[in-house]
Amino acid sequence: MLAAKAISKRFGRNLALDGVDFCARPGEIHALVGENGAGKSTLINIFAGRLRPDDGHATLDGAALRAGSPHAALRAGIAAVYQSPMLFERMTWEENLALGGFLGEADQLHLDEVAARARALAAELSFDLPPPGTRVEDCSVTERVRLEIIRALSFDPRVLILDEPTGVLAPGELAAFLELLRRLRADGRIVVIVTHKLAEALAVADRITVLRHGRRVAERPAAETGEAELAQMMIGELAPAPPRPLYFRHTNEPVLMVEHLTAVRDGRRVLDDVSLTLGAGDIAGIVGVDGNGQTELVEVMAGVRAPIAGRTRLADRGDNGPDAQMAIVPQNRDLDGLILEMTLWENLMLAPALRRRFSRSGGWLARARAVEFCAQTLSRFRIDAAGPFAPAGALSGGNRQRLAVARALATAPKVLIAHDICRGLDLRATSEVHRMLREYAAAGGAVLLISGDLDELLILCAQLWVISRGRLTEVPPENRNAARLGLLMSGAVR
């Protein structure tokens, strides 16, 4: 039995977990649900030994788990597959697995033995493994998820923890994955899955624990509850009915034309003849599993990556060049979007259009004006910060994303391109950002959202494409059901 008693964990000002109890029994699939920021990842990181709780303790079969040591956790029989990939890209998959449990304590590196045992395990699970000697960086996203699962299982763990495992799966692969979980449970293991997708949790879990703002609010057998109740417990109030999708008509004013874009990386086509047209007032979406060309598409549009064919055209280049017409919110806001050590007004200046606007002749910065502009932007977009001189790192995740979006919108561009704009945000912040997008579109802006979150795009987008292996497939409204989209996303159908 995997248990936690009164666990608390604080990060700076933020109380991530507040006296949480938890209990999962052998032969059980236990779902840990809550929205982004509820504390789920923190809790399982504590179980896996990567974090030390400030208070309370975790036990397995009554024995206390040594805090803060992944090694001890693995020894005790807890293995985890995390939300962010933990594979070594430049090593082969055999080498990656060799760092798991197949070799035990041996000093010799018997890669063929590792491969053999991996194949045996994969066969049991009906997985396919990549060809021998393939580096992980050449493996697809699905293959990587499978490798991580096999590596976790190689430790022969009593407890298997999976953090948001279905995020990278196409809808069609979901059923097989849930079946896999049931099979693991049959061995008497404890399986804990962390998810914010209630339908999946209900489909496979035996019992469900709900976290909200760092506290455990409920624990129920799955059979005795339903989506509505769980959603209410997750959010704390009646969840608002999702707004009906609004379909804007094309205003016949194309603003952005992407024409036959093709890009290559390491010899592989990452973008393959991508074409789309965006009109003023449109909110369009590209949905797909991570790693199918989304990042490269954004890079091409940002001018950071050169395509080998095709081009991106703006209908009206305007007086201030393409930078002023097109604004981009990149995927990884903390790595690519913001400089956490710099102040807020300086982060706003990263946007090329703003930098140009607040530069005077001779290369001087119009500092006072830029600071004033930042103050105005902070209040206009209701960003919770101490002021323009606060360091960006002091803002919470939600506010940082708001800042990134505000920066993009502040220059009143014609086109906004956003990649995973709401990833990691809780519901309130998410609906805030959606509101900002809708206002912007209503005022005549064009929005292109690139995301893996199907639900979000179905609500917001008039036009929808699926991206798979660098190719776009348009999905008219009548075809937008989960089954069809799933097939398109997994590349099974064109």
Partner: protein, 303 residues
């Protein structure tokens, strides 16, 4: 003449090779050690001092190794445990070592008044092999440290690519947080690597004052530590590549003497500058960092 040049090449390549082998291991684990020069210098001085005052070369070499390990341990404390900037910490160590060796050298040398020198380690001829024309003396009539250095190359190559230790080392340098999640102790791995490199660099330093030359002058390392950094890059983080690159730079240094002895009108300073200019040129052609361990130079902090 060619024989002398080749012998000189191998002799000059040795300290660079030792330091570069150590640095390869360290960089595999994700740390870049700019302080090699300082460790080498400390090894050179304190090793010679120990040999001088004790009369034993063996003790001197042990002291050389110990001094360099101590300096690397200081670096490890700063860059592993305290996760400070590796570049700045390494540079500070170089400055510190220059100062420390200088201060102690002048203090001690002033006292003794005698020449600060020892009888150097003698070369050991490996039987009839040493008599092979042209390459014989170069390869088979060197001192024991040279043999050890080159013998280490296949050993280290094997360890890095085929042992579990090597794999764990690489994991720490590619993605430390993933290595941590797998139960590997990244701090311990990096500490170990730095200490091993310290031993090798100490050998290199001791070699400089107790085998190659027979005395100490301030700054005797003359940038070899930095050349070693370049050698790791040019050798593509591969033990055999590192060996080849070391020999290349050793030959540039040997060329100095060969050309000077040939009595050309070209000023000798150009020959002194040759190894450094060559390093620069080779780096410009081959010096891409694309093969470097992914997390090289990034401090890692366990949460």
């Amino acid at each position: 003449m060619l024989e002398a040049f080749l012998t000189s090449t191998i002799a000059m390549a040795t300290p660079i090779l030792l330091a570069a082998l150590g640095e390869t291991i360290v960089e595999y684990s994700g740390v870049i050690n700019i302080g090699i020069e300082g460790s080498m210098l400390c090894g050179a001085f304190f090793g010679l001092a120990a040999a001088y005052f004790s009369g034993s070369l063996a003790l001197g070499m042990i002291a050389a190794v110990a001094a360099a390990i101590a300096l690397n341990a200081l670096l490890a404390l700063l860059v592993v445990n305290l996760a400070v900037s590796q570049v700045v910490a390494g540079t500070a160590l170089d400055i510190l070592a220059l100062g420390l060796t200088g201060v102690f050298y002048r203090r001690l040398f002033g006292i003794t008044g005698k020449a600060f020198t020892v009888a150097p380690i003698r070369p050991i001829a490996l039987g009839p092999l040493a008599h092979i024309p042209v390459v014989g003396p170069a390869l088979f009539d060197q001192n024991v440290i040279v043999y050890a250095a080159f013998a280490l190359v296949p050993c280290i190559a094997g360890v890095l690519s085929r042992s579990r230790y090597g794999l764990e080392l690489r994991a720490a340098g590619e993605r430390p947080e993933a290595a941590d999640a797998l139960g590997l102790n990244v701090y311990r791995i990096r500490w170990q690597a730095l200490l091993i490199a310290g031993a090798l660099t100490g050998l290199a330093g001791g070699y400089l004052t107790m085998a190659y030359a027979d005395t100490f002058v301030e700054g005797i390392s003359a940038g070899r530590g930095f050349v070693a950094l370049a050698v790791v890059i040019v050798g593509r983080w591969n033990a055999y590549g590192v060996a080849a690159a070391s020999v290349l730079f050793g030959s540039a240094m040997a060329l100095q003497f060969a050309l000077q002895a040939s009595g050309t009108a070209i000023p000798y300073q150009l020959f002194l500058a040759l190894p450094y200019a060559l390093t620069l040129a080779v780096l410009a052609i081959f010096g891409g960092q694309a093969n470097a361990p992914s997390a090289l130079g990034e401090p890692y902090v366990r949460r």
